[in-house]
Amino acid sequence: MTHLLKATGIKKSFQNGEEETLVLKGIDVTLDNGELTALVGQSGSGKSTLLSIVGLLLRPTSGELEIAGERVDQLSERKRALFRNERLGFVFQFHHLLPDFTALENVAFPAAAPAGGISREMRERAEELLGRVGLKDRINFPATRLSGGQKQRVAIARALMNKPDLIIADEPTGNLDRESAETVLELMREVNQEDGATFLICTHDPEIARQCKRRLTLEDGLLKADEVMEGTEK
């Protein structure tokens, strides 16, 4: 069976002056299509580093990484950017919306910038996604006039714009109140179930981890546990 993501022997070290710190000490992990996976671990365990490597924002020191059957750890910067744009979606702890643009423009941006403008199809898709995250009535609102929860929902819609193979979420509810956090989590579960979108969610929140189908636990740069959660199917 072909995995959506296959990481083999991923190591990452950082040079700090003359001292070299090994953050990831050899991670082997696979993700399949349609999985909703939580990546947990204490601060300093290496989960953010692993997420950055899987998101092609950071190169591993050694090891191999395949996404959708393509070896991606050795791609040029330009090809990595193109891959991120076309095949990956990102949701960050801080929504990171572009403040000078409307909700719709923010959602359409990843598709519009390479294409040179927002086409009718892009507009329709962005509207559909905003409707899906419950913001149909906020389509033309400037990003700055949205609440924290609404901004994060726009960020999820933006991550889905280019129909990515894998959505990488880094503490997506970390900056939200409980109610907004639940809404965002429910949204991700819904997209996962209905569209079969694959999520890798890095989180400190045990509630989020509990609701994911699978939980990967990192400790001191190593994968300590890979668990399928009770009541869910891998």
Partner: protein, 400 residues
């Protein structure tokens, strides 16, 4: 173009800063245009002052030099040039015909010029005599309109003299004077008219007579000593002199060679103007570059996010280059308008005699150069901020 939309949105998101930037560029362009128009105006006025009452091109017979005799003469001998025989242009009617058929020539005055003494009683004074065609008195200098006594008509025995000389001798139109030329010929002439041009050199030491009157006085029965030419474009004098020199084999001198100090002054003035223009442009470039460097720094986080979801570095570069282009273009257009308005206003301020107080030429403000150079400069100014922005590490931006 989506990058253009993003650039415009960024500029509009901070209108006060954008307006200040545009105002700064416009101010620099206004200075550029003012200086260009002022220097052009100064050049025109100074040139007019120098060339207004004098010829733009002077044609004379070539200087004669002693030559070695050849052929049957057994020893090397040198033929002496006669100093008694005047240099002259014998076939001057042909030269005048050539000039009449040459584009750019506006007036032609064949002349016999020489030195003489004006004698009245015991008083003797040297003067330059110009023998001109009767209808050619005004060809080079406006004389007849400046007659203050008598008439500008040149009769057979008539003489036009300047007001200062007339005052010196206590002469009036109609009175007779004795003229003794450099050839030792004397003749009694009548003062036909007295002119006052305002130019001391003319009013004090120059007299006009007809060509026919001058011929016996200067022993030139056929030829002329020189042909003075005015051009519709005085600045073309050098080219015209070169052309005429080759066409006639005569000595042709453009006005610039007779006024080298003016030309040096105009050159120095032009160089000063160029320096001011260059500094205006540099200040515009520095202003735009520093503002965009700050803007790129302020937007590091946004740019990093764009890079994270795979937006290319070239797109980011375009966003910042287009911001520079927009600021430069709008600033240059506003500056061109303001510069033109300022020049027209200053041109309208006149002195008591009705002439413009400031010699400014609003139509020669170098508007196209200002527009092109400023826009280009603005784009160049945005290259460094654009490249900096495109190099933002997405991971660093996300972690901020």
């Amino acid at each position: 173009m989506f990058a253009f939309k993003v650039a415009r949105r960024y500029l509009l998101s901070n209108p006060s800063q954008t307006l200040l930037l545009i105002a700064g560029v416009a101010l620099g362009v206004t200075v550029f245009i003012f200086i260009t128009a002022l220097i052009a105006g100064l050049e025109v006025r100074l040139t007019e002052q120098v060339t207004g009452d004098s010829a733009h091109v002077s044609i004379e017979a070539p200087t004669r030099v002693a030559r070695v005799l050849e052929a049957e003469v057994p020893v090397e001998s040198v033929a002496l040039v006669s100093t008694l025989q005047r240099k002259q242009i014998r076939d001057w009617p042909m030269v005048v015909d050539l000039l009449r058929n040459t584009d750019g020539v506006s007036a032609i005055s064949p002349q016999i010029s020489g030195s003489a003494f004006l004698v009245k009683g015991e008083a003797v004074s040297p003067l330059s005599v110009l023998g001109v065609e009767p209808d050619g008195v005004d060809a080079i200098s406006q004389i007849t309109s400046k007659i203050v006594d008598g008439t500008g008509q040149l009769r057979a025995d008539g003489l036009l003299i300047g007001a200062k000389m007339a005052e010196e001798f206590g002469l009036q139109a109609g009175q007779a004077v004795l003229l003794r030329t450099e050839r030792g010929v004397e003749r009694q002439l009548t003062i036909s008219g007295i002119f006052r041009t305002g130019l001391q050199s003319l009013d004090e030491r120059v007299a006009f007579m007809s060509l026919q009157t001058a011929r016996p006085l200067f022993a030139l029965p056929e030829g002329v000593t020189n042909i003075e030419v005015k051009l519709s474009q005085p600045e073309d004098a050098r080219d015209m002199a070169k052309f005429l020199g080759e066409a006639t084999a005569l000595r042709v001198t453009p006005w610039q060679e007779k006024n080298e100090s003016l030309e040096d002054a105009l050159k120095a003035q032009g160089q000063t103007g160029t320096m001011i223009q260059v500094f205006s442009l540099i200040s515009i470039i520095i202003g735009i570059a520093s503002a965009l460097v700050l803007s790129a720094y302020r937007r590091r986080s946004e740019v990093g996010i764009m890079r994270a979801f795979g937006i290319s570095g070239s797109f980011i570069i375009w966003v910042f280059l287009l911001q520079g282009l927009l600021i430069g273009l709008v600033g240059a257009l506003v500056g061109c308008g303001a510069g033109y308005g300022l020049c027209v206003y200053l041109e309208g301020i006149t002195k008591a005699d009705g002439t413009s107080a400031l010699p400014i030429a609003p139509e020669q403000g170098g508007y196209v150069a200002a527009l092109v150079l400023t826009t280009l400069g603005a784009v160049i100014a945005s290259i460094i901020p654009a490249r900096n922005a495109a190099k933002v590490d997405p991971l660093e931006a996300i972690q901020q």
